[in-house]
């Protein structure tokens, strides 16, 4: 019943070659072999023999990360998705498009030209992930990996203050009032872990260490990488090498988000692409990178209005909605800004502020 083959196992190629030369091709060939016997027969070190037997004999042992794959039914998965929830963006229209916010356990890519608000949205999410559960939030923490040096802590304070105020205005029952006592700006700031990566080597290394970090701090439910484009666009000359690194990188991110149930949010820059004489803006890092994230959100300008377009998603329909960036953070576009004929700007923008998705939860 053991169909595992030596060549398909995650062993070092040199060890595999030796095993195969010695005639060991499948896990069945190795069932009755002692480690010492294997050393002699295949000419490998005792440590290697040990590893070989461990890898190929107990595929089901939890020691092997990734090898022990349980099959779930789609129904189990549905329950899992329902309990995991998502991180609200504070822009109700965008939340509606995303089905409640940025989904936890998935990867989301945010693309956009400079200044359109990618980092702002990331900061907003890093704050929103910490909204207490009784307010309909996740009560989590965030890891913010900054590669561009664009993270401004004052901005985080500003957005956090606004979020605390917002929740205070909504507090109705005893539980919520109690939760508010601990939901302070200091608490939010200490729940954001900033990691500054200077180049792609540091970024790749950090990703390997992140597994341990997330295991130790299970309350971390958001990992932001702002941006992926910067280190990869400017340091790697060989394009096919870059694509390979990026695809491996994206698989690791997917693994990270699925294993730890965290939302992974990546930002990407835009680049100009010329095709048949016309130029248009497309996300950077090439077409293959487009497969990396489960969801892709493109932020863009149309005149003086900012728009967010859901371009790729396995769960929701493509859509475009306007949004605003205010002193408080990422917000709905006010009625006045989206329609050219402004009627009563002040009243309009204020009446939209109290968000519905907080009230009903």
């Amino acid at each position: 019943m053991m169909l595992r083959t030596v060549s398909s196992s995650p062993l070092a190629p040199s060890v595999k070659v030796r095993l195969i030369n010695a005639g060991f091709h499948t896990a069945a060939d190795l069932t009755e072999v002692q480690p010492l016997q294997l050393c002699k027969a295949a000419g490998i070190s005792p440590e290697e023999a040990d590893e070989v037997l461990r890898t190929l004999r107990d595929d089901s042992s939890p020691l092997q990360q990734g090898a022990a794959v349980q099959s779930l039914t789609a129904l189990d998965l549905l329950h899992q998705e329902e309990t995991r929830g998502s991180i609200v963006t504070f822009c109700s229209e965008l939340d509606a498009v995303l089905g409640g916010g940025v989904p936890v356990g998935k990867t989301t890519e945010i693309c956009g030209v400079p200044g359109v608000g990618k980092t702002q949205l990331c900061v907003q999410l890093a704050v929103d992930v910490q909204i207490p559960v009784c307010f309909g939030g996740l009560g989590g923490e965030a890891v913010f990996i900054d590669t561009e040096g664009g993270f401004v802590v004052e901005r985080l304070v500003g957005v956090a203050e606004a979020a605390v105020k917002h929740c205070a205005a909504l507090a109705e029952d005893e539980e919520q009032r109690k939760a508010l006592e601990s939901f302070s700006v200091e608490k939010i700031l200490s729940g954001v872990f900033l990691i500054r990566c200077q180049d792609h080597t540091e970024l790749l290394a950090e990703l390997h260490l992140l597994h341990d970090f997330l295991r130790k701090r299970p309350q971390v439910q958001l990992v932001v990488i702002d941006s992926v484009a910067f280190p990869f666009r400017h340091e790697l000359e060989d394009l096919s090498h870059r694509t390979r690194i990026l695809t491996g990188f994206s698989q690791q991110l997917t693994h990270l988000s699925a294993q730890h149930g965290a939302a992974v949010v990546l930002t990407n820059q835009m680049t100009t692409k010329v095709s048949s004489g016309q130029s248009k803006l497309v996300p950077a890092l090439g077409e293959i990178w487009g497969h990396a994230a489960t969801q892709r959100l493109i932020l863009h300008w149309e005149g003086a209005q900012r728009f967010a377009s859901l371009y790729k998603s396995s769960s929701h329909r493509d859509a475009t909605v306007p949004y605003h960036i205010t002193a408080e953070g990422f917000r709905d576009a006010s009625v006045s800004a989206s329609s050219a004929s402004s009627l009563s700007p002040a009243a309009g923008s204020h009446s939209k502020r109290p968000r519905t998705e907080h009230q009903h939860s």
Binding site: L3, S9, G23, G66, V69, S71, R244, T247, H291
Partner: protein, 361 residues
């Protein structure tokens, strides 16, 4: 109401190619170590003697000249020839007559509708069991949506099981539920259908190979209740493979071909339809071509390219499907379809394969 059998319009030539494939599939990885009890007459002494002649596996024995070997290891020529003959018989494939194969084809092959009428047209009624079908396309072109559609259709309409292997985190049970809700309002039926979809989440090629081998070893959970597995979906196969290919790596190609072999064996041995997704790259003339290169292009029997319809005013969920490779329909057929049609058009009763039967006979 189950998967209907194929219409008798298959020509002899196709049967011949099927036979070829069957032969190939059965002579897979038979590199078995010579062991006592493998066949009568293969005693421990004989094995020891053979080791002296550097013959350890069945493969070595088959390749060697018995006369020469008998001399070299000083064993009885007669015994050696007898053992060799038995082993040859054990490890070879049997010839099957075209007529028998055709009968088997008629009784066991089924065509699974994809749930999208125009794509079924391209595929000559749907996905054929025993074959690998590939969907390729850029990011956000609807590959995952098509996979969902197939999964939902097989689980709901045909009441058969589906094995969904997710390698890029794209699976979304909520969307599956949404699709089911468009087919039926009965909640129990929806839940039953979801339970027929098993999901495996693997994020690297070793885990993929190990789960495919486990699937094959367990006979695709044949004994399990609630129908047999009719479709295996791998979304996406390029996500785990593409970064292992190219550059100075020499293992990737071998791993890719192992994935191909496993998928082919699963398709043939268990008579299931295998659906895989692949990314696209561009050739020198900026034309789209499927990813993973030449060697992989021989693996899928049918290949479909999905593209967005970039027309001003067109719905953002409109896609085209182009047939790139097929043994049934003329290549470069193009069909247009909507990924998420508005609910009102959603009153399909029969499925495409059924109609096909009526018109053809």
């Amino acid at each position: 109401m189950l998967c209907q059998s194929i219409s008798p319009c298959i020509d002899k030539a196709r049967v011949a190619t099927l036979q070829d494939e069957l032969l190939n599939a059965s002579t897979g990885s038979d590199m078995v170590l010579l062991r006592e009890g493998l066949c009568p007459g293969l005693s421990e002494d004989l094995i020891k003697a053979l080791h002296g002649g550097d013959v350890r596996t069945v493969e070595d024995l088959v390749l060697s000249d018995p006369e020469h070997l008998a001399q070299k290891c000083s064993v009885s020529y007669k015994a050696l020839v007898a053992v060799r003959r038995v082993l040859l018989a054990q490890h070879t494939a049997f010839p099957v007559s075209g007529a028998d194969l055709y009968d088997e084809l008629l009784s066991s092959t089924s065509i699974l509708s994809t749930g999208i009428t125009s794509v079924d047209n391209l595929l000559d009624s749907g996905l054929y069991t025993g074959e690998i079908t590939e969907l390729c396309g850029g990011p956000g072109t609807g590959k995952t949506q098509m996979c969902f559609s197939v999964a939902v259709n097989v689980a709901h309409e045909l009441k058969q099981k589906v094995m969904y292997i997710d390698t890029n985190g794209g699976i979304c049970a909520n969307r599956l539920l949404q699709m089911l809700q468009q087919k039926t309002v009965n909640t129990a039926e929806q839940m039953n259908a979801l339970q027929r979809i098993s999901v495996l989440r693997v994020f690297d090629v070793f885990a993929l190979l190990s789960s495919l081998q486990n699937l094959r070893a367990s006979g695709l959970q044949k004994g399990a209740v609630g129908g047999s597995v009719k479709a295996v979906i791998v979304d996406s196969v390029s996500a785990v493979l593409s970064h292992m290919l190219g550059g100075k790596q020499n293992e990737g190609m071998s791993l890719m071909m192992q994935v191909a072999t496993e998928l082919k064996m699963i398709a043939k041995d268990f008579n299931v339809a295998v659906l895989v997704t692949n990314h696209v790259t561009r050739d020198g003339n900026n034309q789209l071509k499927a990813g993973l290169g030449q060697s992989w292009s021989h693996v899928p029997r049918t290949r479909i390219l999905l593209q967005r319809v970039e027309k001003p005013g067109a719905s953002s969920s409109l896609r085209t499907a182009t047939l790139l490779k097929s043994s049934r329909q003329p290549c470069y057929m193009i069909e247009e379809f909507d990924l998420s049609p508005q609910p009102q058009g959603e009153s399909r009763t029969g499925f495409a394969g059924k109609r096909k039967l009526d018109t053809d006979s």
